[in-house]
Each structure stands twice: as C-alpha cells, then as structure tokens.
C-alpha cells in the first residue's frame, strides 16, 4: 500500500448531522403527491368545480350497451377499426411484421447487438414479482385426515398456478420462513405440528437473495430462489464465450434456482433436482405438470451465452437457438429465457430470445406474455431526465407454451405503461391490455389518459379504446370474459365497465364515480366485484383561488353491482381505519383470501387510527393493530366483521409495537372451518367464525 492509499484509508471522516433538515425533508417527501399517485396524498387538483359534487357517489352511463349479432372474427382478415368506430389515431409504431428469426451464428448475434443497441441502456420500470397468498378453491381432499374444502393461492387465471410463500393441500401447509421451508401437518388443527423443514442452501457469498417461493404438485414441492454469486471468467468458461468478442473477463451473475423436492414422506423431504438458469428470476407459473420460469440476463457487461444447469450438467444455449425480432431496435437487449420444467422427470427445455426486459408477465394456459415499458424520459444514467416529452410505450412478447414446447411467437407494441399482471388478459385468442399514457412537461405531469388495446395472435392491433379518463391513471383492472372493469383515479374513482365482445370495437358500457379508489378488483360473481383500495375525501380549500385538495382516508372495501352494466352501483362499502391504514392485499393479490361459498373474506391489515381529539385533517393515524380482519360477505348484508387475529403478543398490542416484520401476518388460508394465518415466524389456527384460537406454532 502506498502512502496515499494509507492516508485515504486512515483519515478520520466527517459525518453530517442536521436533524432539522432531516425531519423537514422527510415530512415533505412523505407528503409528496409524486410520492405515489396510487395514494394521492393531497395532490393538486386540476379541475375544481365538478370535484365537490363528485364526492357524492354519482352514476354515469357513458355509452349504452347495444349488443349486435356477433360476427365471427378471422384473425387472417384483420381490419383496423370499422365504419361505426373508426380506429382512433395513433396506431403508430406497431412492428412491421412478425419478424421473428434465429441467429445464424455467434457473429451474427454480436453484430446484431452492436448495431441495434440504442445508447440508452434504460433500466425500465415496473414491478418485480412478489409473493402471494391464498384465495379460494375447492379441494377433493386427500383422503385420510385431510379437509374437504380448503383454499389455494388466489390466482389470476384458472388453471395457471402462481408461486407463493405458502401452499396448502388441505392437510399439510408448506410455508417459507426466512431461509427455510416448513412442512406442517395442519389438519386437524388442534394436533397441528411441524413435520420437517427444508433449509434452502445458502449461496456461496451469502449475498442477499429474494424470498423463496413455492409450487406444490402432488408429492413434489418446488422451491424457487436465486443466487447472485457466480463469478465467470471469460477464459475459464469458454463454452459460454466461444467466439464472442464481447465476452467480459469476469462477471457476476445472478441465477434463478429451482429445487424439486420429493415429499412423498412429508417428514423427510428429499431433494431430487436442482436446476439453475443464468439470469435473474423474473416470474413463473405452473400449468399442469410444468413449471415455466422466466429469467432475464442483462447484456450491459458484454455477451455471455445463457446456460441451464440441470443436476450439475451444464447446457449452453447456442446463438443459433436464440430467437430475435429483426425489427426491434429500441430495446434493452437482454436475454429472456423461458424454461419449461417437467416436474415429473425434472427435464428442462427452453427458449431464449433477445426480447428485452420482462417487467410484468401474463400467462394463460397456452401463452406467456412478457412486457417491457420504455419510459422515454429515463436518460442514460437511468435517472429521470428533465423536460423531455414522454413517449412511453410497452413492448409485448408472446411466447407460446405447450407442455415442454416453448416458442417465441410474436412481438407487438402499445402506447403507455401498464400497472400489473391484471392489466393483461387473453380471451378467445385475443390479447387485451390496459395502459396509461402520461406526458410530462419537465417534472410536471401535463397530460394522461387510459387505453384498452386488443391484439391478435401476432400482437397486431385489432381494436382499441383510447383517451379514457383524461388526467387520471389506472389503479386497477380486471378482465372478465367479454367485459373489462377499469378503475382510474384522480380524485374520485370512476369504475368503467367496458364491452369487449367485439374485439374490433371495445366501448364503455357504463361508469360509476365514487370517492376513493380500488387497487384490486376481485370477481364475486359475474355481476358483482369486490374492490379494495383507499378512501379519500375532496375538500374545497377555504383559501380563495386555491385548488381542491384530496385527503387520504382509511382503507376502503366495496361491492360493485354491475348487473345493469350501464349503471354500475356501489352496493356496499366499509372503511377500515384512518389514513395510514394499509394492506399487503392492495398490491399483492395473493394476500387476499376469499371464498364465495361461505362468504369468508380475510385481509392482512396494518390499522392506523387518528387519536381522538386530533382535529388536523392532515394528520396521520397511529399504528394500533396488525393482523387479519375476518369478514363474512354476502350481497344482502355486505361486509360483516367477525373478528381479528394477530401474531403480536398482548403486551405488544398494548404498547402498539407493530414493527417486527417477522410477526406481521401476510397470508391466510383455510381448511374446512379452520382459519390459518401465517407470519414469517408463526402459524396460528383459529375456529371459524368464533376465531377462538385452536393452536399456535412457530414456523
């Protein structure tokens, strides 16, 4: 070590402390309307007069439902728009042709990337996938000591399972708890006991790893995790770098890891397969006996060919097997791998494509759709650039899946960005997607509207509904067959009912304006929806000339009646707590448990209340409870709160100490008439509906 290095290492460093500034800035940040549009904390409101009236629920019918005889629609004969409803303008940018081909050589791969890489390695947005919880399904029962009715993960698409931190088969519960998976015999509940635990092997460098997620398939438990550790050297790992000049010398790589455990003996699970794929884990689904894993591998450090390792056998993907779309230029150039894992025999097949970043995915039983939103105003430092016009657009890739066949099939593009997986849907061979388009003038949002696009199998536009709810953005979407429901929000919550029967001509059937908004919409039956979100109040400012302010309130849950589609109604509603109350179910549908048959609805909730006597309508509530709220729901009586369950001790509750994440309930599930709740640390079984505690255990 030379002198200067010694000095640098040993010099005493000054610290910075200015609590006043720290608090001032904190308050401002947390009150920011930018903070998240989702919650709209006192945003400036652009239109003022109508707002005050809109606080009262009013019902608007925009277009009358006028179903015509359905004509058969042939995708070979695509007509954009029709005479009754000409295509709105802005059909720009759809990729010219299917254009999907494979590279002929490593060299071609290199050249394509070098040539088409736009110098804006824009990190793009939108969510990573989190883990989820339970919703409802009816089980057959496993015979023996199993329940006859039990919940499974609340999934978007029937027949397409989603990974979660908890799985339930009506007798056993499989739960991720930190770095292990516990298997419990949970039925009957009073004899609940832990049978075994699987410690997920630590990665070499003990780096941070995302929480593991599970699938359950008969006597196989699938654990998905990832590692960020492997160091590759261009020389040592020549098989992945052969002939490629752009290969990095050393490279830290994130890998998605899938373990398959044989759990025929629940007390003694045995690891059967370990499969790893280069690239970080994006998301996955299980269809039948196949788990499909989507990974992304960035090329910002150079090109290193993707590989799969199956029980120690490495297979490098050849350039000749990598699919790409010759039309795509403006892209992040990542390898997107879709790997089909046959759970029964552990065999894998994969399709690698140069399909950019996969931010949100939607999976039907026959297709995986990955999306990448290009936010035009991210500059090359991946930081928001100032004053650039937004040209947000979302690129969609369709990868067809059929058992072990995986094929990159089409690329398409729409305006705007999408909220989450529920913004997408496939129905009758059409892909539907709801997006928000935003334009910024500098840092200020200057314009926004919302759109629904219907694309065919080639991801070319068949129909569109554009310009919905200007000035607002989408808060939740649910497609249900020939109808779509969209909640947009600025200060009141319009619920739009959209007719999608004719894919060429989607239109608004009706809308409902009510205060607050829904973050998640769950079908109750074909004519009713449950919405969960936040309540808000629009207050006219008492300072002259000042615009209205929207005050956030507690959480809100509502049942919408859409039997008369032209006049959707809010049938019931309940507001939970004061501002500051939130629920994991607002952003992760797997935390939402609902069983229509017995009306059970369970939500994990962090309850906040404003202490009595506080008059300031801008103050925030204090945390007074964390746990689940258990409701009985029916169309006549609405939401009937039966009770609450917490994993915090009486003492902690008394002192309002709810900071320990490991005791925070995230998921709930049921078997027959027993409700189970899970935090990272505990599992509790309570009787329905008395909620009398039957048994509690450490996980």
């Amino acid at each position: 070590m030379n002198d200067i290095e010694k000095k640098l290492s040993e010099v005493e460093k000054p610290e910075f402390s200015n609590n006043k500034h720290k608090h001032q800035l904190r308050r401002a940040l947390l009150s920011s309307s930018q903070f998240e549009k989702k919650k709209s904390i006192w945003p400036k409101v652009a239109f003022s007069l109508s707002a005050a009236t809109a606080v009262a629920a009013i019902v608007l019918a925009v277009v009358v439902y006028a179903p015509g005889p359905e004509t058969s629609f042939s995708p070979d004969f695509v007509q954009l728009g029709d005479s009754d409803n000409p295509m709105p303008q802005g059909n720009e940018g759809l990729l010219a042709d299917g254009g999907i081909r494979k590279f002929r050589s490593d060299q071609e791969l290199q050249e394509f990337i070098a040539k088409n890489k736009i110098k804006k390695e824009g990190e793009s947005p939108e969510y990573s996938m989190e883990t989820g919880s339970s919703s409802i399904a009816r089980g057959e029962g496993l015979g023996g000591g199993s329940s006859t009715d039990y919940s499974t993960t609340n999934v978007q698409v029937e027949g397409v399972d989603e990974a979660d931190v908890v799985k339930n088969d009506g007798q056993y519960i499989y739960a991720v708890s930190n770095d292990k998976v516990s298997i419990l015999e949970a039925y009957p509940a009073k004899e609940m006991k832990k049978l075994s635990e699987i410690v997920i092997p630590a990665d070499e460098e003990n780096n941070y790893r995302p929480e593991a997620q599970l699938y359950l398939n008969d006597n196989n438990l699938i654990i998905i995790t990832s590692e960020y550790s492997k160091v590759l050297s261009g020389n040592e790992d020549s098989s992945r770098c052969d002939l490629i000049d752009m290969c990095p010398q050393t490279y830290y790589e994130e890998e998605a890891i899938v373990y398959i455990y044989d759990i025929s003996d629940r007390s003694n699970p045995k690891m059967r397969d370990k499969i790893s794929s280069s690239g970080y884990y994006v998301n996955s689904r299980m269809v039948g006996d196949y788990v499909y894993i989507v990974t992304n591998q960035a090329l910002s450090h150079g090109i290193i060919l993707p590989s799969i390792e199956n029980n120690g056998q490495e297979e490098v993907v050849r350039s000749q097997d990598i699919a790409y779309n010759s039309d795509v230029k403006d892209n992040n150039f990542r390898f997107t791998s879709v790997i089909a894992i046959d759970i029964v025999d552990g065999e894998t097949t994969q399709q690698v494509s140069l399909a950019g970043d996969s931010q949100e995915i939607y999976v039907s039983t026959g297709n995986i759709y990955t999306t990448q939103t290009n936010y035009a105003y991210l500059n090359e430092n991946k930081v928001l650039a100032e004053a650039e016009e937004s040209q947000e657009k979302t690129i969609i890739n369709r990868i067809s899946i059929d058992k072990d066949k995986v094929e990159y099939a089409a690329t398409g593009e729409v305006r705007g960005w999408l909220l989450n997986q529920f913004s997408m849907d496939e129905y009758d061979k059409k892909f539907r997607i709801a997006t928000t388009v935003e334009e910024f003038n500098g840092n200020e949002l200057s314009y926004s509207d919302n759109n629904v696009y219907i694309l065919d199998e080639n991801l070319e536009r068949v129909g569109a509904l554009e310009g919905l709810a200007q000035g607002e953005r989408i808060y939740s979407v649910r497609f249900m067959g020939e109808r779509g429901y969209i909640v947009t929000y600025k200060e009141v919550d319009p619920l739009f009912v959209i007719d999608l029967k004719n894919p060429k001509n989607p239109y608004v059937l009706g809308q409902l304006k009510i205060p607050g908004y829904s973050d998640y919409l769950h079908p109750y039956d074909e004519n009713h929806l449950i919405g969960i979100g936040k309540d808000t109040e629009v207050v006219t400012s008492n300072i002259e000339g000042e615009e209205n302010i929207v005050l956030p309130k507690g959480m809100k849950m509502a049942i919408f009646d859409v039997s008369d589609v032209t006049k959707p109604k809010e049938l019931h509603k309940v507001v939970i707590g004061d501002v500051g109350t939130s629920s994991e179910a607002l952003y992760d549908h797997k935390a939402f448990l609902f069983n229509k048959k017995n009306g059970l609805l369970v939500l994990p909730i962090s309850l906040a209340e404003i202490p009595e006597g506080v008059e300031d309508d801008r103050s925030y509530g204090e945390n007074v409870f964390q746990g689940v709220f258990v409701y009985r729901v029916d169309l006549n009586k609405g939401f009937d709160l039966k009770g609450r369950v917490t994993h915090y001790s009486a003492e902690q509750v008394e002192q309002a100490e709810f900071h320990n994440y490991t005791q925070t309930i995230r998921r709930s599930l049921y078997m027959d008439d027993v409700l189970y709740t899970l935090s990272q640390e505990f599992i509790k079984a309570n009787q329905l509906w008395s909620l009398k505690e039957i048994k509690a255990d450490k996980l």
Binding site: I4, E5, K7, L8, V11, E12, K13, P14, E15, F16, S17, N18, K20, H21, K22, Q24, L25, R26, R27, A28, L29, L30, S31, S32, S33, Q34, F35, E36, K38, K39, I41, W42, P43, E123, S124, P125, Y127, S128, N178, Y208, R209, P210, E211, Y228, T250, E254, Y280, S300, G302, Y375, N381, K382, V383, L384, N443, D519, G580, L586, Y587, Y661
Partner: protein, 195 residues
C-alpha cells in the same frame, strides 16, 4: 436495516405506503448525506443535493425494478452521485427547488445558520480530511467518485461497479490508475512545500 427489510420497505413503499418510504429514507439519509458532505464539504449545499437526491429517488421508485439490495443501494448512490456531479458543474447555480405543492415545508430556513456553523466547526476538527480532499478535488468528478466510494464509503469493488454502472474489472483498473495519479500529485505537492 437488513437487506430483506430494505426489500420489504421498498416493495411496500412502491405500492404506496409512505411510512415504508420513510424507513428507506431514514436509513439512506444518514448514509447519503455523509457521503455528499464529504464530497462537497459544505453543509448548505449538502442539504440541497440531498433534497434533490431524495425527490429523484422518490420519483424513480415506481420505475425501479427490484433486482437485489446491492443494486438498489447502487441506484441510491448513483442518484446522489449524479447530483454531486451536477453541483460541481453548476456550482453557484445549483439549487434545490421544492415541488410547488411542497414549498410550504421548506419556508423555514432558520436552520441554515446553524448548519454553516456546524459545518465549519466540523471541518476545523478534521484538517487532515480537508487536506486530502483538496488533493482529491483536483481529480475529475468521476475519478473522485471512485475514490470516495472506495475509501470513505467503504464499498467493495462490486458495490462500486453497481453504483457507477461499470463492470468490476474496469472499476479496479480505474482505481489503480487514479491512485497512481494521486501519488504522483501528492508527491509533487510535498516537494513544493519543502521548497
């Protein structure tokens, strides 16, 4: 804050929970303000830079895709670093401007004087650091960043690579080169002082 707490807070914050953002803020305010302060050695400018940094982080939150805590850490430092660079470029023209609807939170500037006193007092206490900073500040801003992250923020090569968005090897090579340059300069400086 552990990595899993950061992740949890991030995801919850992204979903619209300001308290979760508050947790991230509390953790990073201390880290980033110390980093920025060491780079600019001025309390008032540190406040401006940090304020801009957090508003940008807040804005970018929605668009940030979680890929691990070290990448998130790198992202936070990168925003702060970009602000520091902007400050070096604009100097007296560099300001913090509060979003219009939040100006009310920044009206009270009575703290400014305290900060300046505070800052100068601290720098007095640490002459060694001021001295070494003078040498560092003769480097290009990008070079300064590497030195700061390595020696004062105690980052590993990989963390630095995440922050400056380069591969690790090129960070290593650059640091080696910069240290060599610094050594030459400090040698020359001492020589001058002797003369």
């Amino acid at each position: 804050m552990t990595n899993s707490e950061i992740k949890e807070s991030f995801l919850v914050a992204k979903s619209g929970d300001e308290e979760a953002f508050g947790r991230i803020y509390d953790y990073y305010y201390d880290k980033l303000s110390a980093y920025v302060y060491r780079r600019v050695l001025d309390g008032e400018n540190t406040q401006d830079i940090i304020s801009n940094t957090f508003f940008k982080a807040l804005k970018g939150l929605k668009r940030f895709k979680w890929q691990g805590a070290s990448q998130f850490n790198g992202w936070m430092y990168r925003i702060a670093t970009n602000e520091v660079n902007a400050y070096f470029r604009k100097k007296s023209h560099y300001h913090f401007s509060a979003p219009e609807d939040l100006e009310q939170y920044f009206f009270d500037n009575s703290s400014t004087d305290d900060v300046q006193d505070d800052a100068s007092r601290k720098i007095d206490l640490q002459k060694d650091f001021v001295e070494i900073s003078q040498v560092i500040q003769e480097l290009k801003p990008k070079e300064q960043t590497l030195i700061h992250l390595r020696f004062f923020e105690d980052m590993s090569m990989r963390e630095i690579a995440e922050t400056v968005n380069k591969n690790e090897n090129s960070v290593r090579v650059s640091l080696h080169r910069i240290l060599k340059k610094l050594k030459l300069r400090s040698g020359a400086k001492q020589l001058n002082q002797l003369n």
